[in-house]
């Protein structure tokens, strides 16, 4: 492992235990993500993609192998790792502002300065006027933006994105992909995106890791050498070539 590595998975194995059976979810998984790199993970549904994010976040321990996150063990990185879930999971009884501040409250980092920064983030994502609104008043896209602000408010170095656009309608999804990619590049974050949408993976990230079916391991990695925003990438000629390549790999 070198200085440049943000996340390293080395021969990782994960077994789920249930009373009736045990399931080998991940086996012999190797993946390396450099600092500042944006990697997408695509794979058949139920292959253990989300489990890999949970391992990196330290929500549970691997059954075998080693996971290193930002130079330490997963879980030690604390607020340096931000996690975005499939749905926004905004708390309905909190205003948008209070929702955005939730992580800072929990990490006991709520100061006048961090609060001002969070409010600026809300403004940046067009949520300024909804500060005092409750989530129920917002559209799906606006809600997911508020969830993004909640994640970014803690100023993480590593972003784990677990299909954060899958619950949105297609149009909103394209817009948010663009905004999030922009925010990640400008913020210099390291990011790992789990998705079942190949075009989303190509539009957003620097590299796409294709997972096999259960037990999950990396089947092949594709470098995305297309310039531009998520929008621009979608209409570039290299896009469909990559799409075909990944599609073939997934179906193989």
């Amino acid at each position: 492992m070198n200085e440049d590595t943000a996340v390293g998975l080395y021969g990782v194995k994960l077994v789920y235990h249930e009373p009736s059976r045990e399931t080998l979810a991940v086996d012999g998984l190797d993946l390396n993500v450099r600092r500042g790199e944006f990697v997408s993970i695509v794979g058949p549904s139920g292959c253990g993609k989300t489990s890999v994010l949970s391992l990196i976040a330290g929500l549970f321990q691997p059954s075998g192998g080693r996971v290193s996150v930002l130079g330490g063990k997963p879980g030690d990185a604390g607020s340096r790792v931000g996690y975005m879930l499939q749905r926004d999971e905004l708390l309905e009884w909190r205003t948008i502002e209070k929702n955005a501040l939730l992580g800072l409250e929990v990490r006991k980092k709520l100061t006048r300065k961090t609060r001002a920064k969070t409010l600026a983030l809300l403004d940046r994502f067009g949520l300024g006027e909804f500060r005092r609104s409750y989530p129920s008043a917002l559209s799906g896209g606006m809600r997911q933006r508020a969830a993004l602000v909640r994640t970014l408010a803690l100023e993480p170095e590593l972003l784990l994105l677990d299909e954060p656009f899958s619950a949105l309608d297609y149009q909103t999804r394209l817009i948010l992909e663009d905004e999030v990619r922009d925010a990640i590049i400008k913020g210099g974050y390291t990011a790992i995106l789990v998705t079942h949408d190949i075009s989303e993976a190509i539009a957003m990230s620097d590299r796409v890791a294709v997972f096999s079916g259960r037990p999950a391991r990396v089947r092949r990695e594709f470098d995305v050498d297309i310039k531009g925003s998520a929008f621009e990438r979608r209409s570039s000629p290299g896009f469909s070539r990559l799409f075909d390549g990944i599609w073939k790999e997934l179906r193989a």
């Binding site: 929500l59 607020s79 996690y83 879930l85 708390l91 009884w93 929990v106 990490r107």
Partner: protein
């Protein structure tokens, strides 16, 4: 506002007024049929009483300074039973949420305690805490506590796992998760538990008064039954209905106020 919307609002208002009118007419019809049946000799006033006799009984209770002491006794016992029962029930539910092992261990005991008709414990209560107001309050407490524990705990446990995962990704400890997600998310459950608990407290108090009391509406009902004063029984029941309704609507009002506070309303 468009003319169409105005018309729509007008129709809504008319429907609400119609509903209220129908409710009042239904009550008037019931009372009228009751009074009429007695006046026309179709029913014996000695057995079924009548609205006029109920009013007269309440008036005579009032003039002999018996009305409010009885109402007060019952009301205070109910409030005491409801407040202590709810407080103990919610506290127990919180403890059990924080200690899932204890929750799993105690689950069958709670189920049995819930299924047990609490009246059966009456004689034990009289022996243990004495044949007075305290036995009545403990009865109300018992009846409301168990159902509160069960309802509130179920609400806590039903918290969306995705919300718990969110808190885990933010590094929240169990206390933070409880204070920021589980408890505020269970406010609707808490409110319905309060409504159930109010009703249960009335049951407990009236049952308690049947068993031990020398005062209160439950006592008046039992006494009236024993000396065949059905007027007294009916009058007490009418007062009880009014009190129970007032307390229920007080809780419902509280629920609405809290809903508004959380932007749900």
């Amino acid at each position: 506002m468009s003319a169409e919307h105005e018309l729509y609002l007008k129709r809504l208002k008319r429907q609400a007024a119609l509903k209220r009118a129908a409710q009042i007419i239904l009550l008037a019809l019931l009372l009228g049929a009751w009074e009429g049946a007695v006046r026309l000799g179709m029913a014996d006033a000695f057995i079924v009483s009548s609205p006029a006799r109920v009013v007269r009984t309440i008036a005579s209770l009032y003039s002999s300074h018996d009305l409010f002491p009885h109402i007060f006794a019952t009301f205070l016992e109910t409030v005491a039973g409801f407040v202590s029962g709810t407080a103990i029930g919610v506290a127990a539910a919180v403890l059990l949420w924080f200690c899932p092992f204890a929750e799993r261990v105690l689950d069958p005991y709670l189920v049995v305690l819930n299924a047990l008709p609490k009246i059966a414990l009456g004689p034990i209560l009289i022996v243990w805490v004495g044949a007075g107001a305290s036995a009545i309050i403990v009865m109300a407490l018992l009846v409301s506590t168990v159902v509160t524990v069960m309802t509130v705990l179920a609400g806590f446990i039903e918290t969306d796992p995705a919300k718990l995962k969110l808190m885990a990704t933010l590094g929240a400890n169990r206390l933070q998760t409880f204070m920021k997600v589980v408890l505020p998310g269970s406010v609707p459950t808490l409110m319905s538990a309060l409504k159930i608990s109010v009703g249960m407290s009335w049951v407990g108090v009236i049952v308690g008064e049947y068993l031990v009391s020398k005062r209160g509406l439950g006592y008046l009902i039992v006494y009236g039954g024993q000396v065949f004063k059905l007027d007294l029984v009916m009058a007490s029941i009418v007062i009880l209905c009014a009190l129970a309704a007032i307390m229920y609507y007080a809780v419902a009002w509280l629920e609405k106020a809290i809903d508004k506070r959380f932007g749900r309303g």
